[in-house]
């Protein structure tokens, strides 16, 4: 039997899609050809004739390549981005904030861990909830057709937003403090950023990512369009 995957790969080598998407298209088309070929063979055609009849389905591979490319690019990228990243990302962030505020109102205390003469704050009940929220973000993104990367990005979105806020705080602080006449001790600012970065970004980000990865492992094959597990 011909290696359909390789034959399609050769004929669609110029398909200008990203590697994952291209691989997926080639795998799908190869599977179709393989099935056609097998049906022809079962119908009693000799192998050579079956191969010929199978290939007859595509008169012009270059034209097919062009039409696949047009079709794949026909979506609205902005709309896709909104459904695959921004909506699940912001939803994950909103829920994580609501949950944090609720826990604080309910009186759950922050856990303090000492590390190298400094105290790092961990909000344990909130951290426990984050894998679930990360999983939710990844699931919604995947359902909207988001790639593996986009789904994971949506799952850690709250941590990314907080990172951006932290990064903005540093230069803003450097501008504002001299204006209001206060001397900035950069060592203190850097220490605070590092401490809060661990407690509020790194650890929560890891917790969110755990949820995103779990969704990928449990549902990835069924949900994610980029799965190229065809053998």
């Amino acid at each position: 039997m011909p290696d359909w995957r390789e034959l399609v790969r050769q004929r669609l080598s110029g398909l200008a899609l990203d590697a994952e998407e291209k691989d997926e298209v080639q795998a799908e088309l190869a599977a179709h050809l393989e099935e056609s070929y097998e049906v022809f063979c079962k119908g009693g055609l000799p192998e050579k004739e079956a191969v010929h009849r199978t290939f007859e389905q595509v008169a012009d591979w270059r034209d097919l390549q062009r039409r696949i490319l047009i079709a794949k690019r026909s979506g609205h990228p902005m709309q896709k981005r909104v459904h695959q990243l921004w909506i699940p990302g912001f939803l994950t962030m909103a829920l994580s904030i609501v949950f944090l505020v609720t826990l604080q109102k309910l009186g759950f205390n922050v856990r303090m861990v000492s590390w190298r003469d400094s105290d790092i704050f961990f909000y344990a009940p909130w951290l426990v909830s984050l894998p679930f929220l990360g999983a939710l973000g990844a699931y919604i993104s995947s359902r909207a057709g988001g790639s593996r990367g986009t789904a994971l990005l949506a799952s850690i979105f709250p941590a990314l937003a907080l990172t951006l806020t932290f990064l903005l705080m540093f230069p803003i602080d450097m501008i504002i403090e001299p204006i209001i006449g206060r001397r900035v001790d950069f060592n203190i600012v850097a220490a605070v950023l590092l401490k809060d970065g661990i407690g509020w970004i790194l650890v929560p980000g890891a917790a969110l990512l755990v949820g995103g990865l779990l969704v990928h492992l449990l549902f990835g094959r069924r949900l994610l369009p980029q799965d190229t597990a065809i053998g």
Partner: protein, 110 residues
């Protein structure tokens, strides 16, 4: 000669209709359409996949890899809520068009 717009409309309606019955992979979809239309509509690979990808981009169908009973991995397509919504007016449009053509040809033959 049938215009490309009509051809595309027919193909979209055919795909959405077979997917309404349940998820299918490309080859099976083409086979069902051919069988159910008694060979009047036939999709080759070259015609089917650009159409499927376009419909997927529009959010009418969604593809995902699935493993069949014989261990083969196939990309199966299913209707999305948006596709279901699209199917109803599309079906109505075609019913109206065919109704009109039927009336017209009857008058012409009278």
């Amino acid at each position: 000669m049938i215009g490309s717009g009509i051809k595309r409309g027919t193909a979209e309606l055919a795909i959405l209709s077979v997917l309404e019955e349940g998820p299918l992979h490309g080859y099976e979809m083409a086979r069902r359409i051919e069988e159910q239309t008694k060979g009047a509509l036939r999709f080759t690979l070259a015609a089917l996949y650009p159409m499927l990808y376009r419909m997927e981009q529009r959010g009418w169908i969604r593809g995902s890899w699935e493993t069949s009973d014989n261990g083969r991995k196939r990309r199966c397509y299913r209707l999305t809520p948006s596709g279901k919504k699209k199917l109803l007016p599309l079906r109505k449009e075609w019913e109206e068009l065919f109704g009109a053509l039927k009336r017209l040809t009857k008058v012409a033959h009278a």
